[in-house]
């Protein structure tokens, strides 16, 4: 038990969850066929808003995280109006530029502490363990230390958030709004000719993606003591994009599986750390060549459904 629940494994599980939430955020923008590379920027806005609110203004964490998400979402609406006139690669470039702008601004503002970043952020884990000991929980509880119990609880919170997001996406898909998203993804001008306000729905998908990225940012700020501008740089954007590339972006489970694999892989490859990036690269090139739609696509689901004798629909 202790072996399995050691702090290292738990920490990795926590990162998997945060990255899976980021995977959902890129899935949502991709569900209208827009390639946005601004998710790291939105994550950064969420993280910094949240960290500043808790560290400097003394906000409680459970309030600061949603506020961080909303801040990111508002920013996405502001940049969305001009940016969403662009499509395809141009939107990708514009949003990538946005991410860099956010990074440079964060680097130069006083309130964000520039390159030093913000440290001493109260972590969710310590918050919970303090709460637990105030309830009079003994140092050892069911064979687990307080630290383990609180990390497990953090993990539980993250799992609940992820489950809710998956539920949200699945419900959305089977609704009027989800059909509008899918129609825009398939053929934007045909969708518009069928009476769909494409600007509105593209902006909606963009803002929802930013909201979730912002929340993920806020969460990640409260999982580590420290955030700095480097945490949300270009490489973070590429990482998030890779979740969707590897896992597939047809279904919400695609990027989640992508996040799972790409977060675990570097840990598994620790023994071969010299070749890690090479293996990474080879994996992605192989994916692009043999399965450009990602690991999980609509056909995959259809295939398994018929294979398993058409289970419940």
């Amino acid at each position: 038990m202790d072996m399995l629940l050691n702090q290292y494994y738990l920490q990795i599980a926590v990162f998997v969850m945060v990255n899976a939430i980021l995977g959902v955020s890129i899935y949502l923008t991709l569900s209208t066929g827009q390639l946005s590379l601004g998710n790291a920027g939105f994550m950064s806005i969420g993280a910094y808003t949240c960290a500043i609110l808790t560290v400097k203004a003394g906000f409680p964490v459970y309030l600061a995280i949603p506020i961080g998400g909303i801040a990111a979402s508002l920013m996405s609406i502001i940049i969305g109006f001009p940016a969403l006139r662009l499509t395809g690669i141009y939107l990708a470039i514009a949003t990538l530029g946005f991410g860099e702008v956010v990074r440079v601004i964060v680097l130069n503002l006083k309130i964000t502490n520039g390159a030093l970043g913000i440290s001493g952020i109260p972590t969710l884990g310590t918050k919970i363990s303090k709460m637990l000991s105030s309830f009079g929980l003994p140092q050892k509880f069911g064979g687990l230390s307080v630290q383990q119990t609180s990390t497990l609880l953090v993990l539980l919170i993250l799992v609940l958030i992820l489950v809710f997001l998956v539920f949200f996406c699945v419900r959305l898909n089977r609704s009027r709004v989800g059909r509008a998203f899918a129609a825009i993804k398939a053929d934007e001008s045909a969708a518009e000719a069928m009476g769909i306000n494409t600007t509105y729905y593209k902006l909606l998908a963009f803002a929802l993606g930013a909201l979730i990225a912002g929340i993920a940012g806020g969460l990640s700020a409260h999982l580590t003591f420290f955030i700095g501008p480097k945490d949300f740089a270009y490489h973070r954007t590429v990482e998030i994009l890779l979740y969707a590339v590897l896992g597939g972006s047809d279904l919400v489970f695609g990027p989640i599986v992508g996040a799972l694999i790409l977060t675990l892989l570097p840990e598994l490859l620790r023994s071969a750390s010299n070749y890690r990036l090479m293996i990474y690269g080879a994996l992605l090139v192989t994916m692009m060549a043999f399965r450009p739609q990602g690991l999980i696509s609509e056909e995959t689901v259809r295939f398994w459904k018929s294979k398993l004798g058409r289970g419940s629909k």
């Binding site: 009027r176 899918a182 129609a183 398939a186 001008s189 045909a190 969708a191 069928m194 009476g195």
Partner: protein, 253 residues
């Protein structure tokens, strides 16, 4: 008079695709638009549905100016169209394609869709039932799980008509619906167009299949090199020397 075009012109760069085209469409009629390839027929549809604005002229629908309206607004007002090159939402099921068409007549947003409120479920059920009725009307299987792009060609054309009908239009603009269909299929299509008319809708039809046009249309307009060269009943058009020279004559020669 529901749809009125007044001296409408459109040029792309120096090329005049349409010049000074005027016509009126009366409620409940089936109007055919014919003309050789490149005459500007599809451009006409694109102008009416707001894909791009005319260079000059006025387009009104029930007295309302259509100029400057985005395509989805035009659809909301009651004009729906199909496309010459089929533009279905290929990876969606036929039923979902038609349900997308009902978008502008339904209301449920993100919140209602998330919690499946009673109002949302009722709306969803009504939309689905209506979509099934429309699929039955055009003769596409209702409960196909496979994507629309896997349907046979003729079925895809019919599905596009069902999708356009789902927007609950007053006027439906059909852009070469018989293209690529065999004689039997075209005959079914003729019956379908007649049925759409009896549903109280107005039909504007671009078509190359003369048999279909002459059999189904109440009135025919002929466009050549971006200009309206003739207008009248199918019988009159068939007698018109200008038309024979510009269009039908070529087939005889």
């Amino acid at each position: 008079m529901t749809l009125v075009l007044d001296q409408v012109s459109k040029s792309f760069g120096g090329l005049a695709a349409l010049s000074n085209v005027s016509f009126k469409v009366t409620e409940g009629e089936i109007v055919g638009i014919i003309g050789p390839n490149g005459a500007g027929k599809t451009t006409l549809f694109n102008l009416i549905t707001g894909i791009f604005p005319p260079t000059a002229g006025k387009i009104t629908y029930q007295g309302k100016d259509l100029l400057g309206l985005r395509p989805y607004k035009v659809t909301e007002l009651g004009l729906a169209r199909t496309f010459q090159n089929i533009r279905l939402f290929g990876h969606l099921s036929p039923l979902d394609n038609v349900m997308v068409g009902a978008h502008c007549r339904t209301k449920a947003g993100v919140w209602k869709g998330l919690w499946r409120t009673p109002a949302q479920r009722k709306e969803e059920k009504a939309t689905r039932e209506r979509a099934q009725t429309l699929l039955k009307l055009v003769g596409v299987e209702e409960d196909i799980d496979s994507p629309a792009s896997s349907l046979p060609y003729g079925q895809q054309r019919r599905l596009e008509i069902a999708r356009a009908l789902a927007t609950e239009p007053e006027i439906i603009l059909l852009d070469e619906p018989a293209a690529g269909m065999n004689e039997n299929e075209t005959d079914d299509l003729r019956l379908l167009i007649k049925k759409i008319q009896t549903m109280g809708k107005t039909v504007v039809l671009i078509e190359h299949d003369m048999n279909l046009v002459m059999n189904v249309c109440d009135r025919v307009m002929v466009i050549n090199f971006g200009q309206m060269i003739a207008e009248g009943t199918p019988a009159e058009i068939q007698q018109n020397p200008l038309v024979i020279e510009a269009y039908l004559g070529r087939e005889e020669g």
